[in-house]
């Protein structure tokens, strides 16, 4: 049989016996008929602007090609040799049985999926926050710089009525132990007399101690303590007079002496910075 088929040349396809008769896709039993349609809703002049205009370029007045009622629209080849893959390893245990309804377990499967998603997101948010915090904290001042930026002063060393100068962040720092008389005098000053109006109680935490930067607000000279017309500070460069609260009273300087941030951890010490 095989030798006959081999010798028969061009006729061999017709001489072979087959188990299945398969209609090829190119040769339907009844040839298809082209139906002529009068109108195609095509506007060839319309420009292509979007998907909508593109789809209007195709005919849409029903099918242009049809087949008869017992003609074949498609061909299915009999692939009996292909096995359906087994996906059991990838399925959840609830849906392993194909004959059981999956709706009964849908609630728990869905909750589990969302739980996994949520936990992943929580860990992701935590990691992102940690990374961002690390990068930002690397920009802040290091511990040695922070330690240098503070100064601790023992107040017991400064007698009443005296002013002491310290170096703080490269600038002179005045710490003045005021007398009761000075405190009263500065508290009584009316704001209308001042060039830079600021009450004495806004410039001090404890009225006994005035802590200001010793930099004249005019051109940055260092004022002299316990000098000038108002008994506070006097700048020798251009003659600015400050009172015992460090406020500008006379001369070219525009602003009061600057008050840094400070705090009293106890009665005897002050930490500036």
């Amino acid at each position: 049989m095989m030798s006959l088929a081999a010798r028969s040349g061009a006729f061999s396809p017709y001489l072979q016996t087959t188990a299945f008769i398969v209609a090829g896709p190119l040769k339907p039993l009844v040839p298809s008929v082209v139906v002529k349609s009068e109108k195609f809703l095509i506007d060839p002049k319309k420009p292509f602007l979007c998907r909508e205009t593109l789809s209007s370029q195709s005919p849409k007045t029903g099918p242009a090609v049809t087949v008869s009622i017992n003609g074949r629209a498609g061909v299915r080849f009999a692939h009996t040799d292909i096995r359906v893959p087994d996906f059991s390893d990838y399925r959840r245990p609830e849906v392993l049985d194909p004959h059981k309804s999956s709706q009964e377990s849908s609630e728990s499967r869905r909750a589990f999926s969302y739980l996994v998603t949520g936990v992943t997101a929580v860990v992701g948010v935590y990691s992102a926050k940690t990374v961002v915090t690390q990068f930002i904290s690397s920009m802040s001042a290091s511990a040695d710089v922070l330690a240098m930026s503070k100064i601790e002063i023992k107040l017991g060393d400064i007698p009443e009525g005296k002013n002491m100068t310290f170096k703080w962040r490269g600038k002179p720092l005045f710490v003045r132990h005021r007398t009761e008389k000075e405190i009263e005098a500065e508290a009584a000053v009316s704001l209308s007399e001042l060039r830079d109006p600021q009450h004495d109680k806004d410039r001090v935490l404890n009225p006994k101690w005035v802590i200001v930067l010793g930099v004249c607000t005019h051109l940055g000279c260092v004022p002299i303590a316990n000098a000038g017309e108002y008994g506070g500070y006097y700048c020798p460069c251009h003659g600015s007079h400050y009172d015992a609260s460090g406020r500008i009273r006379k001369g070219p300087a525009p602003l009061n002496l600057e008050v840094p941030y400070y705090e009293f951890p106890d009665e005897e010490t002050v930490i500036v910075g």
């Binding site: 728990s108 909750a111 969302y114 739980l115 949520g118 929580v122 948010v125 935590y126 926050k129």
Partner: protein, 63 residues
């Protein structure tokens, strides 16, 4: 099952509540994770850290 359903309907169903759940969960997770890590570190280094041996030196200085 009932708990999963309740949690799903209450927290996971809407995107808004899901996002809020993640944020709040991240706050608590951070605290638990960081403090747990510190506790494990201190447990493994018990007796070597300064705060474990600090009292030995402090008492001498005061005397």
């Amino acid at each position: 099952m009932a708990l999963a359903k309740t949690v799903y309907n209450l927290l996971f169903r809407r995107t808004s509540t899901f996002a809020v759940t993640i944020m709040v969960g991240a706050v608590f997770f951070e605290r638990v994770f960081d403090q747990g890590g510190d506790a494990i570190f201190e447990q493994m280094n018990r007796g070597k850290l300064w705060k474990h041996i600090k009292h030995n030196y402090e008492s001498k200085e005061e005397e």
